[in-house]
Symmetry: C2
DNA sequence: CTGAAAGCGCTAACAA
DNA sequence: TTGTTAGCGCTTTCAG
């Protein structure tokens, strides 16, 4: 079998092209001062040797790895499509994406520490709770941290989220217009800021219109948890006829339980609404009414914040953005549709 | 706001600990010859300065980035759970995971080139077709390439796949035992080696038992494509009563079409089987009978091959493995269950 | 515009 | 076991 070669380096190219090694570097640096002629020579020699600039070496000297770390506890819970779009958009700016899946039973900081050793230029944290110490350390070395679909009270951290409050309010209004009698909420993990916001928007909007009693159960953002929650809700003598779930997956699970275990008709007997508009929500068997979390615009915001900071030469402290990207109510068939032609509108 | 510091480096630690810089390096190198006392001193100083070895610098000199590139065209088509497990397992061996989503309308080599510049130590390609030139280049610089759920005729590349042939044969047998009259197959992309294998196993096994006529339509591995394919199949005067789809997602789509557009009862009027056992296959509304692709063992194989090569000091040419991981028939309710021995599988 | 020289932060010989 | 000395492959002053 053929022997393994050592890849050619800038010096090899320089020698072949008859120029200095720095000329090679310049030929591969956009905007460097180099004559067209020299560049041609270099590029020709480079192609001949299949030379590829070594990004690791470049990183060492520029102190920029051009790697963004993305961490989450579960990848399937994390929107895979978002990761996909993010990866493509980041690469367009010259950044690579490294993933760090965190085992929730272990210490998140351990993994994040690994990321720091790898010199990531920025962090995107989804479904992950970094310690305050960790965030502080990132700030002290100038690495921006962006929370995705999470909130933080601290002003030391950026965040990009969907419109949890606005969306839940819209859902509450939609449900009320559908003329339901009794409302329930299936929450995500108890420590989830997102779930709390969705709950708040929902109950507040209901409350503003006189609905004070909202049953609440926790589904933990898992399929099984949502099943259990739904069973609890539907076994009650005064079972709700409208359930809002803090995530689409929980809504799908609740829908299954309602149909197959309680023989309920959706939406005649029971309306179920989710949040997020995942792919499966559109599948005919579910046809889930939900509020969308627009992936493209979430990614836009993330990339904008990151590139903004990098072009300014690093996170200099100061401004920490809290971007909220509004989605829209996606009306399908899992919830009763208001009879008259009433506007869903912005209310208030 | 607090100023941004320059992270401390080995020299800083050395000075504080009163040792040489190489002692610092040794303290962080498992198995290096260093006295316990010196190591203590170093570690103490390191902690005090929150020193973290710079992996980029290490990579430059060891010529090992300890990064594995994983590329795919669509992340949602790719099994997100597999990526998750892979990430965790690779990190246990000190390797990071960098993802490279490839826009199918663009040139795959462009992205892979980027990965090469980033000095990935190995490549895992899922749903991606690298050019022969690219593979050759990887081989020439000693970077192992592993195809995941794909086959290659070339002997220059590793591959890890589920048991497409065996699984499809098992499905064919199961369907025949169910006493079906007319069989169909919905294929993935026409150039997919995996789809071809699933088709081959299916039709060959059917053929061995006298079933020569198998309708075939292409669903392109997409939801819409599978819907169109299913419509075509079910509109025929001699419509099949057993359909095997090259992927679970296509099977789900076909199931939806059969139920909602043709008002067919599953499995009474029509049996539908998929391949892969994705999460949604187990959801009650589908309860899809399928053949599993065991994620953990697929990852085991990938990691084993990779670590094996690395511990031998790089891909030296020669042996190229073709690992096939067998799964099992997962009997649920989307296909007629053979009357006699009703305990074929676990049904999860 | 171009080359020479000095490192980026670390590991890996080599002596001591 | 230790410190010293070279670099890894590149970017970046700094002269010319």
């Amino acid at each position: 079998m053929s022997k393994v070669h050592r890849p050619s380096v800038a010096r090899d190219v320089a020698k072949l092209a008859g120029v200095s090694q720095s000329a090679v570097s310049r030929a591969f640096t956009p905007g460097a001062s180099i004559s067209a002629k020299t560049r041609e020579k270099v590029l020709k020699a480079a192609k001949q040797l299949t030379y590829r600039p070594n990004i690791v070496a470049r990183s060492l000297i520029t102190r920029r790895s051009r790697i963004i770390g993305v961490s989450m506890t579960r990848l399937d819970q994390f929107n895979p499509h978002l990761l996909e779009v993010l990866n493509v958009r980041l690469r367009a700016h010259g950044y690579g994406t490294m993933i760090f899946v965190i085992d929730p039973t272990h210490d998140a900081d351990l993994v994040l520490d690994d990321a720091l050793q790898r010199q990531v230029d920025g962090f995107i944290l989804a479904s992950t709770r970094p310690s305050a110490a960790f965030v502080k350390e990132c700030n002290s070395v100038g690495i921006p941290v962006i929370l995705l679909n999470r909130y933080s009270d601290e002003r030391t951290i950026h965040s990009v989220t969907g419109d949890d409050i606005g969306g839940s309010r819209a859902i509450a209004r939609f449900l009320m217009e559908g003329g339901h009698k009794s409302y329930a909420f299936i929450a995500g993990q108890s420590d989830s800021s997102t779930s709390k916001r969705r709950e708040a928007g929902y109950t507040e909007e209901l409350g503003r219109h006189g609905v004070k009693d909202v049953m609440k159960v926790t589904g933990d953002y898992t399929w099984e948890g949502a099943c259990i929650a739904a069973r609890e809700l539907l076994s009650k003598p005064d079972r709700p006829d409208a359930i809002f779930c803090a995530s689409d997956y929980m809504a799908l699970a609740a829908l299954e339980v309602a149909r197959h275990e309680f023989s309920l008709s959706i939406p005649e007997d029971l309306s179920i609404v989710g949040f997020g508009d995942v792919v499966a929500a559109a599948w005919p068997s579910y046809s889930l009414t939900t509020y969308s979390n627009p992936v493209d615009r979430l990614v836009d915001e993330i990339v904008r914040i990151l590139i903004d900071i990098f072009s300014k030469g690093g996170q200099k402290g100061g401004k920490h953005e809290q971007a909220i990207v509004s989605g829209q109510l996606v009306v399908r068939e899992s919830a009763r549709i208001p009879a008259p032609a009433r506007e869903t509108g912005t209310g208030a």
